[in-house]
Symmetry: C2
Subunit: 175 residues, 2 copies
Amino acid sequence: MKRIAIDMDGVMANVKPKFLDLYEQDYGIRLQPEQYLGKKIYQLPNVMEFRNHYFQKGFFRDLEVMENAVEVIKWLQEHYEVFITTAAMEFRNSFEDKYDWLAEHFPYLHWKNIVFCGNKSIINADYMIDDNAFNFEGFIGKGLLFTAFHNVEEKRYTRVDNWLEVKTFFEQELN
Amino acid sequence: MKRIAIDMDGVMANVKPKFLDLYEQDYGIRLQPEQYLGKKIYQLPNVMEFRNHYFQKGFFRDLEVMENAVEVIKWLQEHYEVFITTAAMEFRNSFEDKYDWLAEHFPYLHWKNIVFCGNKSIINADYMIDDNAFNFEGFIGKGLLFTAFHNVEEKRYTRVDNWLEVKTFFEQELN
């Protein structure tokens, strides 16, 4: 059985709505797509401290589930070994939040298949679904770039725009 | 640079003294080596619930550091890529304790090189130092079994009895 490594933030969890709300709360401006497409929110001018939200307890606990993720990952588990591989390690306060979020929304995932890491070159898998292209550098398998507002200009990797496209890709791989 | 994956409990952290103290506290008996050699403490007769200590907040926070681990891992980092790979994922309450323990005793380790996982077949490394032989099944590199009271009868893997032996092994690998 081939193995798929799946990222959480920006892939299973939709971070964008929370980012836009927090930005509006912090700076009084509702960002429009043309302002943030192609970058991370904290890479906008003069908002470096926006990134500190990541370090707060609770930040990762109430993120929206990405549309169709629950059903498609359940389907993937029937045909592949599925591991959740999230770069949590920079954020000590994210561990319990991420664990509880997975338990709430993806109760069918076994703890043996969850990985909190930093540098993802440590992951041994055939495929990796991730919204950060830098995670594919040094990865031994095939990277699938999950479309996010910050990666729309990245051209180097096979792209999947949503979970239905992920399912289509892996249905074809099975044939 | 070749990569070494290093387990925490029983390898970097010495769990045995705490186990013996807790067993005495719970059951009023100071275990002697002939009673526990070759097994985990919770595999002794009628003490299945002893394993519940793992689930308590704080259990992993105050473990002793294994002798010479700090110096030898620092030396390894000069010659190898070092990743800490601990099967924390069964124990939600262990995450912050393990993270803080590493920060206290091994402040030179970068968060990018720390991995909390379940099944260690997900680890992509050239070597793995671990006290549980089952972690080498499915591992793509070479396993080095770190001697612990529970694994004394295991014969399948190269054995290292302590951190000075680990250093000697990797000095030879460099030649």
